[in-house]
């Protein structure tokens, strides 16, 4: 077919066994071979914030722009057809990657926009002149409750606070058991009044994988909608959203080897079909008159304006890349790195990991504190050695408050990381302690 297919179907590192050939794989990621500060090889342990992109993704974006760029769903000329085909093919491949139908995948700017889309759609179902059936399904108001958890990223907390503020609904939350690093399921705030249960699949701070089945069952029992923040799960393990049974889910392209500026809102087909729009304008309409308009079926109803296109194509290339490695293998590789990090950190005096200390139901975000050395200072010493980590509250301020700490250091892994890089992290933590005269 087109040059696109050549770009995305090149063979990728990894052999027949379950291990990832990182040396081969890393050659696909130009950025990983650069140096930082005083010519230190970069050790990139911040993929939880954003991941690096392989050439296959960059090539796919470039090939699209050089050969097929046009406004999608808008023209009758050949290039517009090709662009639309590339965009819709991207949707289909990304949908298949998470076990969804193409019509269940809405492209958004990122996960944050996806969550806001749902929150605003519910808000729009709650005000003004609304169809009774739509209101019955989606409206929230005084007396209704929205449930989140204390371990949410601000992206899955603040939009719900705002929806409550606009509609008069009340926000409730599951507490976190700090000793275990897991949700305290006994703190269950779900009641007959609950309209929405929004929670993270995998914590971006603790690494904790939450019991989706259990939470979905509890939400369903009271007829509440579920919203899964799968930003930190979809990039790192096989995820089938249909099997999980959630109503909505979101993830971001830039955390899964793909471009920034593209993310996905997944919604079950019949929910998207019934849900009112958030952003309105061109491309999302069915019929427009001066007196009023009707809207296109999903997913177009939720994609107002000319969408990001090369980014969607790039994200499809990223899921092709991940699929070629195999998500089971990605997960196994990252589990090995996480295990090594947890073991290594446990041996550094005065280091406390925030979150589960075994790899069971746990992903590769490892956040920790170093006694008597502030997270910023640990991060600075690591940075000086070429090790890039994140420091601060990682957009989960209430969770840090729960742990009674202002800031932690977070190392987060992706499929391209190596055991040597974990060793560089541990060495760097030792170095930070000695630089600040601790221990």
């Amino acid at each position: 077919m087109t040059s696109l297919d050549h770009a995305v179907h090149r063979t990728i590192g990894g052999t027949a066994d379950t291990t990832v050939d990182t040396a081969k794989l890393r050659a696909d990621f130009p950025l990983l071979s650069r140096t930082v500060r005083d010519n230190r090889p970069l050790v990139y342990l911040d993929s939880g914030a954003t991941s690096q992109r392989p050439r296959q993704v960059l090539d796919a974006e470039r090939a699209f722009l050089e050969q097929h760029n046009a406004a999608v769903h808008r023209g009758a000329h050949q290039i517009a057809e090709e662009a639309t085909d590339a965009y819709e093919s991207a949707r289909a491949r990304i949908a298949a990657f998470v076990g969804a139908e193409p019509g269940e995948v809405v492209f958004t700017k990122n996960a944050t926009e996806g969550i806001n889309l749902v929150a605003y759609a519910l808000g729009n179902a709650s005000i003004g002149d609304v169809d009774a059936e739509v209101a019955a399904r989606f409206a929230v108001g005084p007396g209704d409750e929205i449930v989140v958890t204390e371990m949410e990223h601000h992206a899955n907390l603040v939009p719900w606070q705002e929806l409550c503020r606009r509609t008069g609904a009340t926000l409730r939350w599951f507490a976190v058991d700090t000793a275990a690093g897991r949700l305290d399921l006994g703190s269950d705030p779900i009641t007959e009044r609950t309209k929405v249960v929004a929670f993270t699949h995998q914590s971006n701070v603790l690494g904790t994988v939450n019991p989706v089945d259990e939470l979905v069952a509890r939400a369903r029992a009271v007829g509440a909608l579920t919203v899964l923040d799968s930003c930190q799960s979809v990039p790192h393990a096989p995820v089938n959203l249909s099997t999980l049974g959630v109503d909505y889910a979101v993830f971001s392209g830039h955390k899964m080897l793909g471009p920034s500026g593209v993310g996905v809102l997944y919604g079950r087909e019949e929910l998207l079909a019934a849900m009112p729009p958030f952003l309105t304008g061109g491309s999302m309409i069915e019929l427009v008159r001066m007196e009023g308009s009707t809207y296109a079926p999903p997913p177009q109803r939720f994609e107002a304006g000319v969408p990001m296109t090369s980014q969607a194509v790039g994200l499809a290339a990223a899921v092709d890349y991940l699929s070629t490695i195999g998500m089971d293998r990605v997960a196994a590789h990252e589990r090995m790195l996480t295990e090594a990090a947890l073991t290594g950190l446990a041996q550094v005096p005065g280091v406390r990991v925030i979150g589960p200390t075994s790899t069971e139901d746990r992903g590769g975000a490892v956040s920790f504190l170093v006694d008597e050395v502030h997270a910023h200072d640990v991060g600075q010493v690591l940075d000086d050695r070429g090790v890039a980590v994140r420091v601060g509250h990682h957009c989960a301020w209430p969770l840090h408050r729960r742990y009674e700490v202002a800031a932690t250091v977070r190392a987060s892994f992706a499929v391209y990381n190596t055991l040597d890089e974990v060793a560089a992290l541990i060495d760097g933590v030792h170095a930070a302690r000695s630089f600040f005269g601790v221990g």
């Binding site: 502030h374 997270a375 200072d377 600075q380 000086d384 420091v391």
Partner: protein
């Protein structure tokens, strides 16, 4: 190693033995500042008095800070540089300090104005740490403005953002 440029001995000394730490009475105004990117915070109080010529002078600065070495040391150095000065002089020092740490390393600091504060010139090369260095200084600016305008009451500020 670049680390030593940022963490000059003076900074580490102030961090280990912060000057003027703790919250004291009496005071004219108080400011609470947080760094929204990392959650570090400082509560800082300013006590002013009039000197013989009737000019406003900084009588005391007291604070309670939760933060990294850079923010703690910068607040400690602030108290050394500013207590005993007139409010006008303190604002000149504050402007010079701000200008230096926001300069990306392009400004040669004046030791006559900034004293130990020149140790933070290295921080200017690390844009992510500039807010750390300014946290206590922004609290000082805010508290002093409140004291001068006679509105000492606390409002959660965000001056370092």
């Amino acid at each position: 190693m670049q680390l030593n440029q940022m963490y000059q001995e003076i900074i580490l000394d102030h961090y280990r033995n912060p000057h003027g730490a703790g919250l004291r009475e009496p005071f004219d105004a108080e400011s609470f500042q947080v760094n929204p990117t990392c959650g570090d915070e400082v509560t800082l109080r300013v006590a002013l008095k009039r000197d013989d010529a009737g000019v406003q002078v900084v009588a005391d600065i007291s604070y309670d800070a939760l933060g990294c070495s850079i923010s703690q040391a910068a607040t400690s150095v602030l108290t050394d540089l500013v207590v005993g000065r007139t409010v006008d002089e303190s604002m000149t020092i504050l402007d010079a300090f701000k200008e230096m740490v926001q300069s990306r390393g392009t400004i040669e600091p004046d030791e006559d104005v900034l004293g130990d504060g020149i140790a933070f010139a290295g921080v200017a090369r690390y844009p992510a740490r500039v807010k750390c260095a300014l946290l206590g200084w922004m609290a000082y600016q805010d508290a002093t403005a409140r004291a001068m305008s006679g509105s000492p009451s606390e409002a959660s500020g965000n001056g370092a953002s």
